[in-house]
Point group: C2
Chain length 332, copies 2
Amino acid sequence: MAKHTIIFDKRPRILSTGTVAGPKECAGVVGKYVDKALADDMFGESTYEKAECKMLTYAIGKAIENAGMKEEDIDMMISGDLLNQIISASFAARDFDFPFLGVYGACSTMSESLALAAALIDAGYFKRIVAATGSHFSSAERQYRYPLELGNTRPPQSQWTVTGAGGTVVADGGSDIAVTGATFGKVVDFGITDVNNMGAAMAPAACDTILTHLRDTGREADYYDLIVTGDLGALGSRIVKDLTWEKGVDIQPNHVDCGEIVYNVIEDEFQGGSGAGCSAVVFSSYLYDKLKRREINRVLFAATGALLSTVSSGQGESIPCICHAVSIENVR
Amino acid sequence: MAKHTIIFDKRPRILSTGTVAGPKECAGVVGKYVDKALADDMFGESTYEKAECKMLTYAIGKAIENAGMKEEDIDMMISGDLLNQIISASFAARDFDFPFLGVYGACSTMSESLALAAALIDAGYFKRIVAATGSHFSSAERQYRYPLELGNTRPPQSQWTVTGAGGTVVADGGSDIAVTGATFGKVVDFGITDVNNMGAAMAPAACDTILTHLRDTGREADYYDLIVTGDLGALGSRIVKDLTWEKGVDIQPNHVDCGEIVYNVIEDEFQGGSGAGCSAVVFSSYLYDKLKRREINRVLFAATGALLSTVSSGQGESIPCICHAVSIENVR
């Protein structure tokens, strides 16, 4: 059987985060914790895509600043996003004078980049790496679905792409919050073809990676104060709890989904938030604050991604999904 | 200054490769060396995208088979491609029961995935990883440029996306061909906005990473038998030789570009081949064969990527580019 989980002997630390989110998001749980709450989701730019890129650039720069560091202290950035050819990440990287590792894991990008950053630091190759991602409702909507101007009705199983970005500085020391392990997921496809039902499509991947992580580490689910998924939404969260329960693991008491909690009042968001920025912002602001305050001390952060494109769906394909998980613990 | 280069103490080995290419490509230099030469670039599929995915799946499976291994011997695959949301890689990963790390580096994907695979093996996290990528002329053309049916005239500075895929098995031993180091590139943007002139856009990134690699390792250019770029084409190759020369480094005697050599007879291909599959196929077939025969023993493999999208170009942006380099040496 393939080996999925790495335990990091040197336990790389999360030094800081940087976060920014849009007005709808800041009306919810992350509003009090983000570094910048946007009054206008255009962020002073002329297009949604440029606004998304600017948010990501801001989150990376702010994370570095919050670590008390300068650009030249950083060895690398690992980032990706939802836009075609991950242009937000690539154009953000253009503004920084350190190497760039582009990744694509759709909405699992935050845990994928955190896992890779921790691995490259744990191995001793680098000292400080920024892991970051983001998304924008309006750029995602027009790329993946319909032009906003059409005013299409959204089905009840749909989610709302989070406008926001989050970055973290992972380092070889300097904080008590450590990335202690990572479980890399495999692609799981349960045959869902409804592109509006991402939660159902991604839940089996989350189930697979969470169970693999617990098996590989010999831990029970209650080892963690929180098992955090990225953007399964309300329906997807119910499904992942059912699926793990069927396999004899009860994550119900300590499971929370970033997409399910990101919006306080549900109007058009239906199942909740989604997008790479969803777990990035919720983890890097709200949950990171709880970790720093020691209200929680052990988190399994398992963001999921739906690896479809409009072309694959148009050609009748189902939706392959993935989940990468990192365990984050207070180690003092 | 950010640290760009890793020297791999354990020198992970390239165990095997698997390659497939289209008819136009197999009329050229790789024809004698690929595992499968396609008579029809549809590869029995109904769409170009599905053909591209099938090529990548084939290359991964064949690399595993050529290593004398089975699927269950592999710990992970690292892959990406040019299609939106890297669907070729994601859908190829669906066919295998090991973890998947999605990366995006455009045409630099082969060196990016090789560098990451070597790092994760050198660190002792995994034993055997497949690094793979591919591209398809017809899927790239209709995604990035125009529908083929339009019959658009191609400008003389343009290149031809290679139809093909290549995969390698990187392992913790078992061969004399080692990945001895990796240099991760930063984004370089010289302000080129002509989407048909990728060679000119990417050459400065290649120059930056090659010079950084030589500086970090204290090596002269003639340490390497070959300094191999990915798909700069004829014009881009001239530019990278000029740019490095201006910096006091002469790569002219040992530089070769996969895009410049992949097609024997230039008809519509103008500057030569391009695409993630270009360096993947040329390296994994033709150059790998020369390494095995010890006709060459030290190669710096520096594939470049143009990190644009149709949206970024449409919004007036220039083309940010990147180059990741791996040094590959016979170490017996």
